[in-house]
Structure formats: C-alpha cells, structure tokens
Amino acid sequence: MTPDLDLEGLTLAERILSMRVGRRVQAGELVVAEVDQVMMVDSIAPTVIDLIEEELDAVVRHPEKISIVIDHVSPAANVEVATTQKRIREYARRRNLRVFDVGRGICHQVLIEEGLARPGWLVVGSDSHSTTYGGVAAFGTGMGATDVALAAASGRTWLRVPATIRVLLRGERPAGVSVKDVALEVVGRLTADGATYASIEYHGAEALTLAERLTLANLAVEAGAKVGLVPPSGEVAKRYQAPPWLRIDSEAEYSKTLELNLAELSPRLAVPAAVDNVQPAAAYLGLRVDQVFLGTCTNGRLEDLHVAAAILRGRRIAEGTRMLVIPASSQVLAAAVADGTMSILLEAGVVLGTPGCGPCMGRHMGVLAPGEICVSTSNRNFVGRMGSPEARVFLASPAVAAASALGGVISLPQEPAKGEWPGSDHA
C-alpha cells in the first residue's frame, strides 16, 4: 500500500497521521483519525464501560480493535478490585471483546507480543505509557477514560498533529550503560515538560533491539511527549514488515534537536521525586536499599532479566534487602524459565511476582513503608508512588538494580558493592 500522498519532508508523526487521515497533514493541524487499536486497563476500563454504555448509550464500534488488559492490580488485591474485574470480564463476554486476564502481563508488552500495535498504526491507550508502542513505530499515545470511551465508541479520536523533537544518538554505549540510562538522560535533558505536545523521533537507534526500543519510547511521556517514535530498522522492520513510507525524512522539520554522545554516558538514576531529576548513579553509591524492583513496562522484558541474571549468577542478594522480579508478561516468564534465567534469579534470592504492573503505582505486591528506599526499573518516582509518601524511589537500569540488590546499597554494575560505604548514613 504505497500512498498516493505526498509525504516528502514530513516527520514520522506527520507521516503516520497523514496516512491515517488520507491527506497530507503537518504539525499544528487538528485531525480526526481512525484508530487501529484501543487499549484499556483494569483500573480504567470500568469507567470507560460506564461512559460508553450509560453516558453515550452506545456500543463499541469495532470489537476487534479493542483490547482490555487486567494488569494494574492483578491478581486482585481486595474485594473492590475483584468485583470490578469481574464486571470487566462480564462486559467483555457480553460485547465479545478481547481480554488479557490475570497473569498474561502488562498491557504494553502484551499488545506488542500479540501484534496489536504495529508500525504505522494509531493506538490509543488508557495508560500514559502507551508511548511504548512507538518502539515499533506505532503512533501510541495515552489518553484518559473519556477519550478512550469516545475512541472505542466512535472508532476515531481527535489529535493535534505534534511538532517533533529529534533525539540524535551518537557513539557507543560504554559497558554497563543501558538504553534505560539513555532514556533517563533524554528525560533529564528535555525536562519533564520539554516535549509537551510533541513527538520525539529517535535517530541513531538502528542497532537497538525491540526491547530496547520499547524502553526508549516508554519514557518519552516522562518528558511530556504525546508520542515517541523509533524508526523501524533491521530485525524490527523485517519482523513487522514496516511500510516503506515509515522512514526518516532528511527534509523533515524539527522543533528542536537533542544530541547525545552515548560514549560519555554513565549509569543514571532518576532521583526522588521527579523523573527528570537525572543524576549519575555514581553520586549515590552506598545509599542503603531496602527493596529492588525489576519489572514494569519499562524494564520487565527477557533481556532485562538476562542482565540481572548475569550479575546475580551464583551469588546471593544482600541480607536486609529484598528484590522483587515481576516479568512483563507470561511469555517473558516462560522464556526466562525455559532458558534458566529464572533459576539463577531464584537461587540468588529474588521474590517472583505474577506478570503485571506489580507495585509500580503503589497498590499491591511490594509497596513501601515510611523511610524505605527502593531502586526500581520502573518509570515514576513521585512522592507516594510506590506506597508511603515518606518512601523514596530511585529509577535505574536493570544492571544498577541488580548490582544494588547484591550490595544492599546503591551500586554500579561493574563495581560490586562493598557493603558499608563511607558516608552511607542515610538510615
């Protein structure tokens, strides 16, 4: 399907939205576009259902374009949640909607695995990290319950075509530096509202794996972006048969360019309580860690578990520190069991949780007590995010997380922790 449209000089976001609306559109224009997939999660779906059935007095337009994922509190933590999830299942059965139930995994990972977010698609999700779909160059964007209900009921959504910020990645990452560090650095440099309303287009990402692309796009929203697009290339382009029009255009106009020399990057931390408060992890070495959390839509994939296993192999996590591992999906869990990764992690003393969001938003499965410090591979470190408002969450790569679990203090992956560190009096 080669377009008759003139897409010359357009950004990826403009190209995708032009194709969706069937005419050439550019940054600033308001468009109403057909959506290819509407995703809703268990915490939002009940409201969406009420809005569709009661407020709009409608039914979903294209059931095959709807995915409901029970992942945010999964399995249910209390009767309220259990009752809500029961209602979701009953509604889905009645309306013939697809449900990915308890244990299948985190919405974004599941949609990617199921091929329900593909290059060039417009995917609207009831979760802000729907930017993750940009890892396969789908225009994935998060919206609230009302917008999701409207998209489900009408099959369409309205958007302003975003301006685009180009992030230019150059150089080789040093050992121990992961794409999570790159993604955090991008947020730190752009700041939490530096990409508001914008698309982020990542250049120089050709060598990245699918998992790495998803991590990068996942964090785009932490700079305020509407969408974060990684141009399809290599294995990803082949696997998804990315359309040829979905490519970087050297004539495209960018509102801004951020250039990062990866060779100069060291492991990062997003320090409480803002995701754009990005600092070198080296500045926090020795800080006591009560809990390490490896998982989430940012870093709960097989590659992330591999990184942790390589660091933890044949060793035990520190006395007094607990490490939760929550694979992003049932497929990730099955693969980690099959290739021995899970045995290595369990022998090191980790605690395994049901694939899903886990304690990321402080609802269950490992919430924090006052005064506790968590090193988490997730994407938000706001006050009270993972439990007590007096707890502190440091966002890190899987490597820093695993190294910190070994040391019981914040540690760099290359440099196993040394227990007590001078000045580690943060109790």
């Binding site: 268990d42 609230g144 917008d147 508001t196 609802r363 009270g384």
Partner: protein, 168 residues
C-alpha cells in the same frame, strides 16, 4: 455576583499522583470514597477543607504523569470550579476539558494569586476578581470552547454526532 471562592495555590510540577495517589483509585477504594483522597500526600487537609466553587492555581506542568481521569474527577466531585496554571501536561489537560472542569493556561496570573485569596470567578466572562482587581482569563480555542459550552466532550459527541474539530 458569584460567591467568593478560595484560591488554593500550588507550585510547579503537581503530578497526578499528587492529585490522587494511585492507591486511592476508585477501583481500589470505591466510587464514593475516592475524592476524599485528593492531595492526600501533598496537602492532606485539602479534601476536608475545600468548598464547592474553589479555584486551584498551579505553576508549570500541572497534571504530569498518569492518564488517570479520576484524578481531575476527584476535584470535580469536590466542587473545584476551575484550575489555572502556567502550563498543563497534555493528557491531563484533555482530561480536564473532557470532564468539563475548566482549565486556564496563563503564564503570569498564577504568581499574582496567593493561597487563601478570596476571588470571584465568572466562567462565562472568563474573569477572576480579587477585591478591585480584575484578571482576564485566556479564551480557549474555538473547538475547546464548544466542548466547554456543552459541559463535556461526551455530551458534545452525543449532541453533534461528531468529535471536536471534525467537519460536519
């Protein structure tokens, strides 16, 4: 003249976990209870003290973070009449307009308003008055003004059979 409203002044970067912590989502604590946890961590006194008609004033990037619509919904249920901030996060701004909670982006105004100020707010006139001082609020773009006039985007869709910005 409308009744005077209290101004609740907040700083920069108020996020959706501040507005309503995830653990107090309606599906965790029930549809009736969740509004009483608004600002439970940031300003624990807020939910009990806020009065219908009150105005929230924030700094930059109000509402960053989660797409949870129940965060602004909690404020609406508590009777908050409008939110004025230097800037808003994208998803949250849509949510506010979608549920019909007026949001005004004004770069200078927030610094002129103080916590506890008593003001008169007139939505239709887009005006805020404190004593003798009158502040004009920015007018939203036409397509958003249409949505606000109908009360919510869902009502808009029901009445017009199309989305905002969609051609008739």
């Amino acid at each position: 003249m409308p009744e005077p409203s209290r101004v609740w002044r907040f700083g920069d970067g108020v996020n959706t976990d501040d507005i309503l912590p995830g653990k107090y989502a309606p599906f965790m604590v029930g549809e009736e209870a969740f509004p009483r946890y608004a600002f439970a961590h940031l300003r624990p006194e807020f939910a009990a003290a806020v009065t219908p008609g009150d105005i929230l004033v924030g700094g930059r990037n109000w509402g960053l973070g989660s797409s949870r619509e129940y965060a602004p919904m909690a404020l609406k249920k508590l009777g908050v009449a409008a939110i004025i901030a230097k800037s808003f996060a994208r998803i949250h701004f849509r949510n506010l307009l979608n549920i019909g909670l007026p949001a005004f982006e004004a770069s200078d105004l927030p610094d002129l308003l103080h916590d506890g100020d008593l003001v008169r707010f007139e939505l239709d006139a887009g005006r805020l008055q404190r004593g003798d001082q009158v502040f004009q609020l920015p007018t939203p773009p036409d397509f958003l003004a249409e949505v606000l006039r109908e009360g919510s985007v869902l009502r808009y869709f029901k009445i017009h059979g199309r989305l905002p910005g969609e051609r008739e």
